[in-house]
Amino acid sequence: MQQTQILTYGLTGIASERLRELATARRIWLRETNQTAACQNLLQSAPTLLIVQLGRDLERELALVGIAHDCVPRAAIVVIGETDSAGLAGLAWEFGATYALFPPTPVERLNEIVNFMLRERTP
């Protein structure tokens, strides 16, 4: 079986910070980037899970979600938004997010979601 791999994109690194402990405990390869172009390149390694934290460049970030959905169909995609914007959350679903984690759902639930998504892949 291929090594379980989580790829995170975000300017603040919130997602990778939250997942570091879980990744170590479950021997998951955690890769982090804050550039959409680099993230797009890293998608070639077919990550199991892609986490995109929306930031300043929504257009590029959502396009990244769309590309990941089309080109790595097996990967689960979690999109994290900081503002309670139903329109943006809907757009994230539309572009292919497996789950759009937007307020009022707290970002603290990220670990629970990731654990659930990877429950059959790692010990």
């Binding site: 797009q40 390149n41 998608l43 070639q44 929504l58 257009e59 959502l62 396009a63 769309g66 590309i67 089309d70 080109c71 169909p73 097996r74 689960a76 914007s85 139903a86 329109g87 943006l88 959350a89 809907g90 757009l91 679903w93 539309e94 572009f95 292919g96 497996t98 789950y99 009022p104 759902t105 639930r109 629970e112 979601i113 659930f116 998504m117």
Partner: protein, 435 residues
Amino acid sequence: MNDSNTDSFRWQAFFQHAGQPVFLLNRRRQILFANRAWETCTGLKLAEVRGSACRRRAGSTKLERAEAILAACAPPIEAVHGQTRQSRRRVPGSLDWWEIQFIPLAGPEHLLGILGIIRVLPAPTAPTFSLPPKLNTLRDRLVSRYRLIDTAECTPAVARMHAQARLAADMDVPISIVGETGTGKEWLARAIHQLGERRHHAFACFDADKIPAELLGDVLFGSRSRQLALGTVYLRSPGSLPREIQEQLAEALRAKENAEFPRVIVGHDHEPRAEIQAGRLLVEFHFAASALTIEVPPLRERLDELDRFIEIFIQNAGELQPHAAAGVAKEALNTLRGYPWPGNLRELQQVVSGACQRAQTDRIELADLPFYLKQGKLPAERRLPLDTLLEQVERRLIALAMRLTQDNHTRAAELLEIWRPRLLRRLEKFGGNQQ
């Protein structure tokens, strides 16, 4: 509190003053007690319904109001078996929902009764959002890809699928899409959404295997649902949905009174009947969600369209990383055509994407394709006898350890982190030729 106080404690009066609607059922699920808040919330009087059983009425949509409310208060089977459960139920004749906590009260031998506490979920406000023009343009670009194109290469099965999809788009009813894994069921669901009246709302694909049930319930029925204003929901792996959500979905689809509830399209990788027989898929939900069933043929039955798919996937691969490939050499194309594609379009996409990365010229050559494809045999068909392979590895490691320690058994055993007698036994088994 002393004994006399405990004896005189009137629990009914205590619950009467509770602000939350509370009701108590005996083990036959008959109503023993309900407080004033329950009466206000349901519009029923306790005196009228005391002793009435709270049971779900499968498939019935035209119940009397009292009957419908009693059915909504019916405990799930898990609660009857002694487990605390929380259920979300549609308020009869309303767009609101109740979240009911069922707490079983166990006696020394059997269940005494079940306490139900209702929390009324307030109706969320209608969405008030607009997207910046740049994002709208991006969305338009995305959705423009989901179009049903009838080409000359389309087989009759594909033409029928397209016709059914167009019909489905006009009807706005729940649909089931059946097809093998990777045949493009989600793509078809998106195309139907784009053709339908709800295309201005968002499309969401929910995979029951990948989203925790509680969060999925919240997006479908909770406060998030109306805020998101989803137009169409595509449900993957419906058999993995918790029973509770399947019941709620069946109810919501049958009721049809909430126009804001998203249109539901269900994708089945296998024949739904097998899932029903296995007890994973509720028959009520399946029937409610399959007003129309569309079958997606596997790729091996639509090989005439292979060229078109390859073209699309070469283009997709270019989005991920620029590459030189723009087409496929004849020899490679013949190989691709000769393969049965058990993984369907998803497998084809992986093969094309990998070949694009390897391609040295503007065409994908035979050498760029994976080895198993050229062999004409699936990797899964190759035998992998685990015991034999492990023995080979063990033999090699022992030989290496013996060589490194210049045939010193004690040191070789230490190196291999095994006991010396075990090493000697293995050496004996392998014929002592390690030395």
